[in-house]
């Protein structure tokens, strides 16, 4: 395992596909699009395997591709069920605490434009700083911030109307010292 180069493409897929599919699922909000996105990401990775391995971060490569793909025009099948399956069933593996979960928020995420949703996923699921998000999506940091602010504002309005007017710069500024 010390030798990363010895890790083959198939081994990478075998060990990371499920995690990548989860990522695709939170990016797209539904199972079919997540599967398509993952497949597309892996096809690209396969073609670039030699190059990517030298960079030692095949996973980052795929995640970047998947995020960009999702935002770009790419959509192989037009789907109506944007909301997908609202996760009701919880992950109940013994000892794993339930994360806070709000089905209404999951639904509200489906109403966001894709780029805004991707920014939130990268920030709150991948826990990336804005600089990294900007790099991944090929946009400026300012755009990341404004997209996040807009998305949060919309979510806050839908999610808990009483708090809608508190949306503002402090949200965004607050993120940087998180």
């Amino acid at each position: 395992m010390d030798d990363d180069d010895g890790v083959g493409y198939e081994e990478f897929v075998a060990s990371r596909a499920q995690a990548l599919l989860r990522y695709g699922f939170v990016l797209t909000g539904n199972a079919d699009d997540a599967a398509d996105l993952l497949q597309e990401g892996l096809i690209r990775l396969r073609g670039a395997w030699g190059r990517v391995l030298n960079k030692r971060d095949p996973e980052g490569y795929v995640r970047t591709i998947m995020a960009r793909q999702h935002i770009s025009m790419w959509r192989r099948r037009r789907r109506e069920h944007l909301m997908g399956s609202v996760p009701e069933r919880h992950y109940d593996d013994r000892g794993l605490e339930r994360a806070e979960h709000d089905p209404r928020l999951w639904e509200a995420l489906a109403t966001l434009p894709r780029r805004q949703r991707a920014v939130l996923v990268l920030r709150y699921y991948e826990d990336l700083p804005d600089e990294d998000i900007a790099r991944m999506l090929g946009i400026s940091r300012g755009t990341v911030r404004s997209q996040a602010a807009r998305a949060l504002g919309k979510l806050r309005a839908d999610w808990r109307p009483a708090a809608a007017q508190t949306v503002g710069e402090h949200m965004v500024g607050g993120h940087s010292d998180r």
Binding site: V26, R44, D93, L96
Partner: protein
Amino acid sequence: MTDDLDRALRGTLATAAQEAPSVRPELLDRVEAVRRGRRRRRMSAAALGTAVVLGGAGVVGTQLGSGDGAVPVAAAGALKPVARADLADAVKVRERWPDAVRKLPARLPNGSVLRPVALLDGDVLVGATESSLQRPDRLWSYDLGARRAKVITNIVIPGGSKIFASDFAVGGGQVVWWLSYRADGRDTVEIWGAPVAGGTAHKIAGMPGAEVSTLLVDGDDIVWAASGGVYRAPLTGGAPAKIPGTEGFGIVSWPWIGSPASHGDKLGYVRYRTIKNVRTGERRGARLAPFKGAWTCGVTWCVGGSATGVRYKGEMPPIAVQRRDGKAGRTLPVEGNVLAPGAGVVYGRFLPYYPDGPKTETHILYDVQNGTVLDTGIRRHDEVIGGPKNRQNPQYFLTNKDGTTLLDFSKIG
């Protein structure tokens, strides 16, 4: 700053992710088929116009064209060199925090050498004796006040043993350990336990494999990392259950797990580049400053040292320290060969630091949080403080020619 919506978003996304469907078994075949089809149509990935920028280790990857104009370059803060003169005089740990360093008996009253495991409340030292080198045969509790020792349990040594009882850990009233053996051509790992109060050793769980990287007690469960991922089983015994999504991960600081888990010192290697909290699903990457070396990351801090196969033009690189998020980067001066940077930061805060290389006379810690140098006063011979298996365990036992000394990180202010 975190508010309710931040928290709710994190929780909702983490939970939703667990609801993703399973990967289709034919995924690889489909990838191959589609790819072959595309190649036939002479469409390369690049022609699709996807812009890809690879992050990490200060290396910015190739861009294959982008729609959105300027792309900011990786911006992990640069490493600020700290000169020898910048380091204030070392704080003497023994004087400032007398409880942090404690000399302990190296032998039981019967004269046997005791390998310490844990110092419990009430001054009871739990440790193991060995029948031969690294072959523990008995666990003891030694009441230091009363100077009386009693056997906790006899350690069962199976036939075909490959690795003898290792990584003893105490929790939930039990002391646990793991061992491995080979039987019928197959390697098996077993986790055993015994009540700290004394009793028969019993098997808690077993599974195929040759080695466990970290074993610890988590409430009513034991948790361990092995080559296949991270597992848990009830402390009372039962089948091991693999925690989903942990393939390739090791235990960084429970409940944080990280990948890649193996030790490595190739140029640009980052141990635990990605970490994940198994309770919340939170993930964190690492944004590292450019540095000609290899890194080891913990939950918050990353430490860089020299890499193999790199020519350093007669001068070894300093030790690099920075936060995982790219902040607070600096390099520490070292004379002579760098010792043990691979140990990483211990107890979330302390970096074993040998400013004079192999000539360093006492065990020194560098407090990464406030930049102070701490002299434990524990004389060193040729040993270094290695990375403990469980980085949250505040007790570190140092054994050398001078005997056994307990360094309790939790007692350092």
